[in-house]
């Protein structure tokens, strides 16, 4: 059952779930955002892992190397990192505004305040 060739992917999936758990369970908005970050970075690791070729080197053409790792996942992940940081910046700005408006960044306290408004 244990396959060393898959070890990489298993750990990555576990890291991914660590991030997802933080997002679901933690009520603190900053914690949630950190969790999202871990989730996204793990997906990036997944892509980068699949680009690796045994005995290969970084995909910059030169005379001295024959085998290169696959550059395509790297390109895709550059874009994904950018998307992640863009989302993060906007989320943090939202959190600052929420703090100003509710005086808290804890989800359950916000929910109580909102329930009070409706009732």
């Amino acid at each position: 059952m244990f396959d060393p060739g898959l070890f990489n992917y298993w750990i990555i999936m576990i890291l991914m779930m660590t991030g997802l758990y933080t997002v679901i369970v933690k009520g603190n908005l900053i914690k949630k955002v950190i969790g999202l970050g871990i989730f996204q970075v793990s997906v990036i690791m997944f892509f980068v892992s699949m680009g690796k070729v045994r005995g290969g080197t970084a995909p910059i053409a030169s005379e001295s190397f024959e085998v290169y790792s696959n550059p395509v996942p790297h390109v895709l992940m550059l874009t994904a990192i950018v998307v992640a940081v863009a989302t993060l910046a906007f989320a943090l700005a939202l959190i600052v505004r929420i703090k100003e408006a509710y005086d808290t960044i804890e989800e359950d306290e916000i929910r109580e305040l909102e329930a009070g408004e409706e009732g």
Partner: protein, 498 residues
């Protein structure tokens, strides 16, 4: 000069994205709110015209392929327009054009004028993102444009007048990011087993790989990821808040486009990449999607009945209507899928019409609470008449588009021998009667409270867009060849039945 007309039309697919995107960038710099609005509106209508030209060309000459950067697929990114996405593109651009025309009047109520240029920039970017997702032929490109549209829609939602807009926005952001990242993970797994990112090429490669455990999980990731964006029943919790607390015109736009494009992406992945055989016959996706769709139809409508805020009521109604689309998709037959696609088109018209009516009410009355609508039938006759017609369509009364969708779905269910499903569709329509009637009753059969301030008729800048959509509801309810005809051909194409 001659020949330039030809070259522009040859590059139309690329310009369809590039021009709105560049205009959004210009909007950032225009300080005058009115000038930014004028630019955004002009560009939106131009994009709509472009989409019509593209659909016409697809009908006449078949699928259009455009190679970005001149690199042939799968090495470069291809834009690929067929009947299905040409129709979705028309919805995205058309609704955007109508809604953004209405925004000049309505927006100042909710967003300070100082921010309007940025608001229109975000609005155009959102449309560009949705249109970009629609016409691209590359799975990773879908993700990139998904994020453009998502980020700008979070920004648009956060501009609502109350502080709850902020919490709705972050709720949507957290769920939407999980959805987007899951979609990316699914794309990664597909790329891993096929080695390509181009949709057509991926389908070919995948057919050779055949079903295995990685493909199965990729299908699950893609389905769950897009379902979050589509607000499929248990994953819909971001939607009611986002639609309720966003500025009225943002709701009118997003309700009609964002979920529709998510539906398109799901259908594209299932039918064009995985294929019916893999997704339905071997992996039995219908056994998951169909129950969820039916639960959504009832749960959404029942919760809608108990809402006191009409915007929120309509939001829950959207959850139910998404159920109908998903039901059509999960049948995986030509009539079923036709029904799903037609409903996608029709629901966009109805919902943006209804939410624009709410924009009128909010503009004049200052609230969308049901108590605030007492006696509005007399005080805002044209506005409420529009609500009634769009509401009738929501129920599925003949001569409106709603009837067309229901007709296709019911007959598809019967054709497939699924009588209970057909009965359930009709039963859930009765629930729509209840929640639409509540508003009609309050607006027409109750007197306005005596202390209520005088209410003027809705401004012409809002009434014209509203009635444009109402006329479209009736027009496409009678002349179905364009909507249902194209949808039928698209469904046949997706199912590979000629």
């Amino acid at each position: 000069m001659h020949g330039s007309g030809l070259s522009i039309s040859a590059h139309l697919p690329a310009l369809q994205i590039a021009v709105p995107l560049l205009s959004a960038v210009i909007c950032v710099l225009i300080r005058k709110a009115r000038a930014a609005w004028l630019l955004a509106t002009t560009v939106a209508w131009a994009a709509f015209a472009g989409a019509c030209v593209l659909l016409n060309r697809v009908i006449l000459h078949g699928t259009i392929s455009y190679e970005q950067g001149g690199w042939s697929p799968p090495w470069g990114i291809e834009l690929r327009i067929d009947l299905f996405n040409a129709l979705v593109l028309i919805i995205v651009t058309g609704i955007c054009a109508v809604v953004i025309s209405a925004s000049l009047t309505s927006l100042s109520m909710e967003v300070p004028e100082k921010r309007h240029n940025l608001f229109y920039a975000a609005f155009l970017l959102c449309m560009t993102g949705l249109a970009g997702m629609t016409i691209t032929g590359d799975v990773f490109n879908i993700f990139v444009f998904l994020e453009i549209s998502s980020l700008s829609s979070y920004a648009l939602i956060s501009q609502g007048a109350t502080r709850r807009a902020l919490t709705s926005s972050i709720q949507y952001l957290v769920m939407g990011t999980i959805g987007g990242t899951l979609l990316l993970l699914g794309i990664g797994m597909l790329y891993m087993v096929t080695g390509t990112l181009n949709i057509v090429d991926m389908a070919d490669q995948l057919a050779m790989v055949g079903p295995n455990r990685t493909v199965l999980v990729a299908l699950a990731c893609v389905t769950v990821g897009t379902s979050i964006k589509l607000a499929v029943f248990p994953l819909h919790i971001w939607l009611p808040n986002a639609y309720t607390y966003a500025p009225a015109i943002v709701t009118a736009f997003l309700a009609a486009t964002a979920t529709k494009v998510a539906f398109y992406v799901l259908a594209r992945f299932i039918f064009s990449i995985f294929g019916v055989e893999l997704a339905f016959e071997q992996m039995h996706l219908d056994r998951v999607l169909m129950p969820l769709a039916i639960v959504a139809m009832f749960a959404g409508s029942i919760v809608a009945i108990y809402q006191t805020d009409i915007k929120r009521m309509l939001a829950y109604s959207s959850v139910a209507q998404i159920g109908y689309m998903l039901l059509g998709l999960s049948m995986a037959t030509v009539p079923g899928l036709t029904g799903g696609i037609v409903h996608l088109f029709n629901h966009a018209l109805m919902k943006s019409g209804l939410f624009l009516v709410m924009a009128c009410v909010l503009f004049r009355v200052g609230s969308t609470h049901i108590d605030a609508m007492r006696g509005l039938g007399k005080r805002m006759p044209l506005t409420m008449a529009a609500f009634v017609i769009a509401g009738l369509s929501m129920i599925g009364v003949p001569l409106t588009v709603g009837f067309v969708s229901k007709w296709y779905l019911v007959s598809a269910a019967m054709e497939a021998g699924q009588w209970p499903v057909a009965v359930l569709i009709l039963l859930s329509s009765l629930l729509a009667v209840v929640y639409i009637w509540r508003v009609v009753e309050v607006a027409y059969f109750q007197e306005a409270p005596e202390d209520a301030p005088a209410v003027k008729k809705a401004p012409i800048g809002l009434l014209v867009p509203v009635w444009t959509l109402v006329f479209a509801i009736i027009f496409f309810g009678i002349f179905t060849s364009l909507s249902a005809g194209v949808a039928g051909d698209a469904a046949r194409m997706l199912l590979g039945a000629g």
